[in-house]
């Protein structure tokens, strides 16, 4: 291939450089009239997706009882080990958490606890404004986490579906539950 080294070709290269720079200048200047993409946050709330994962709450079932059965699945699913809890049992036989503690200074809001929860008790909300002056204030105890409502699954009540027998519902009486099989019986 013949190499182009003529004056005309060089002139063309120089012109090309300048032309592209001028085009750039004009295009940048035209952005004077475009709208800024900035969301001025404290005054203007950014759009949050429906599945945005923010502050973690513990919900209650439709009867107002705590949903959490202290199964510890959320704590074992947690990649940062920020959940700690202790099981207790009341006189009716329901399990619940004696204490339930989430350290939000470690939480990464991955949502694995919500996925692991068998009773829809632990849920992530759209609230992300958790800033504190004191690191210790980011440790949330059970009374800080519990909310009054059922959250994302308004009609779900774990103890009516299935699970261990509690007073008021015998084993096998749940709506999603078959009668227990008597393994010692030969009847079909």
């Amino acid at each position: 291939m013949q190499q182009k080294t003529g004056l005309v070709h060089r002139g063309y290269i120089v012109w090309d450089y300048f032309y592209s720079n001028i085009v750039t200048l004009v295009k940048v200047a035209s952005h004077t009239f475009t709208k800024a993409d900035t969301v001025e946050y404290p005054e203007q709330m950014p759009y949050l997706a429906p599945r945005f994962r923010g502050r973690i709450v513990l919900t209650r079932d439709p009867t107002g009882e705590e949903r959490c059965v202290a199964c510890n699945l959320c704590a074992s699913a947690c990649p940062t080990d920020c959940i700690s809890l202790q099981k207790t049992e009341d006189e009716s036989g329901r399990w619940s958490a004696e204490y339930f503690r989430i350290n939000f200074s470690r939480c990464v809001f991955c949502g694995l606890c919500e996925e692991a929860c068998p009773t829809y008790a632990i849920q992530l909300t759209q609230d992300f404004e958790l800033a504190e002056y004191d690191r210790q204030s980011l440790v949330y105890e059970k009374q800080h986490l519990l909310i009054d409502g059922p959250g994302k699954h308004p009609d779900y009540n774990f103890y009516e579906m299935c699970g261990k027998a509690v007073s008021g519902r015998a084993k096998g009486a749940g709506s999603q539950e078959a009668q227990p099989v008597n393994i010692k019986s030969l009847l079909p």
Binding site: V28, A29, D37, T38
Partner: protein, 316 residues
């Protein structure tokens, strides 16, 4: 008015306006860059964010005024002051309007060129005194850039001087009553504009402080008010380049009578400053050898060509 009082008033007011204007320019630049990048820029402190400069100033004053133990202490301290001094001194010769301006030197243009050339010493001193490899590379680049750009900066102005027949800036403005020199000296304007940007070390010619390669280049080791001196010095030199282009190519304070002369001067200067900020906001920084090649192989021949053509036309 008593001439002494008048000139003192001129000195104080112009100095204040220049320094304050340069500080305001930091806000203006950030706002404009924001707008051109579809952001808002600083808009929180005060009306439209104008008090941002006060906030920045407080921050810089509060900072620890640190001299590195390995630095050459005296030179390290003198360099930023020198950077500020030369650009402010160069402002002395710029005629802003009839009766506004500090001195009326017969060799005003030469004084301006001399002062801008001295500006590079501030950078080199600062870089040398820092005893830091980034700073040294920045200083090295500043020196080489100065050598290649100073040459055609002077040459590009010779066309204007030939047309007006004087080095006196006030007479240069008055020589443009029949038509601004931007018309016959469009090439000279283009070259001087480039050189002006290179002189004030601004993008795309900000190789001495190229923050992507050299952290902060020659002022890597500087902090607090010493850094601010370099910073404000850069903005004063932007103002100075714009004011100089106005005087030399856009007829200084000349303009229709529905605005006072000083307003015309400021209007033209601010427009040029906006253009410089636009260039900073859009053009990429060339590689170092490309910058030198552009200076020596393109700009220098172009300025010589401009000189020859202007001279030939004057003789005809």
């Amino acid at each position: 008015m008593d001439p002494l009082v008048n000139s003192l008033l001129n000195v104080v007011l112009i100095l204040l306006c220049v320094v304050f204007g340069a500080a305001l320019l930091t806000w203006l630049e950030r706002r404009l860059l924001g707008i051109w990048q579809d952001r808002y820029g600083p808009n929180r402190v005060g009306p439209f964010g104008t008090l941002q400069i006060v906030a920045d100033m407080i921050k810089l004053l509060m900072k620890q005024d640190w001299v590195p133990p390995f630095a050459d202490r005296l030179v390290f301290i003198v360099a930023p002051a020198f950077a500020m001094f030369v650009v402010v001194a160069a402002f002395a010769v710029i005629p802003m309007a009839p009766g506004v301006g500090i001195v009326d030197l017969n060799i005003g243009l030469l004084f301006f060129l001399a002062m801008t050339s001295l500006g590079v010493y501030a950078v080199m001193f600062g870089a040398y005194a820092s005893d830091n490899k980034y700073a040294m590379l920045g200083g090295l680049r500043a020196a080489a850039q100065m050598v290649s750009y100073e040459v055609f900066m002077g040459l590009s102005l010779m066309g204007v001087v030939m047309l007006a027949g004087t080095f006196n800036l006030r007479e240069l403005v008055l020589a443009q009553v029949d038509g601004w020199f931007i018309g016959p000296q469009i090439i000279g304007f283009f070259i001087f504009f480039m050189a002006g940007i290179a002189e004030s070390h601004r993008t795309p010619f900000d190789l001495p402080e190229a923050e992507h390669e050299l952290t902060a280049g020659f002022h890597t080791e500087y902090s607090g008010m010493k850094f601010a001196m370099f910073f404000i010095g850069e903005y004063v030199s932007v103002l100075m380049s714009a004011a100089m282009i106005t005087v030399l190519f856009f007829g200084g304070w000349l303009g229709p009578h529905w605005l006072p002369p000083l307003a015309w001067f400021l209007l033209k200067t601010i427009t040029l400053v906006l253009l410089m900020i636009l260039i900073r906001g859009s053009l990429p920084r060339p590689r170092y050898d490309q910058l030198m090649a552009f200076g020596w192989k393109f700009m220098l021949p172009l300025s010589l060509l401009n000189l020859v053509i202007t001279g030939a036309l004057i003789l005809i």
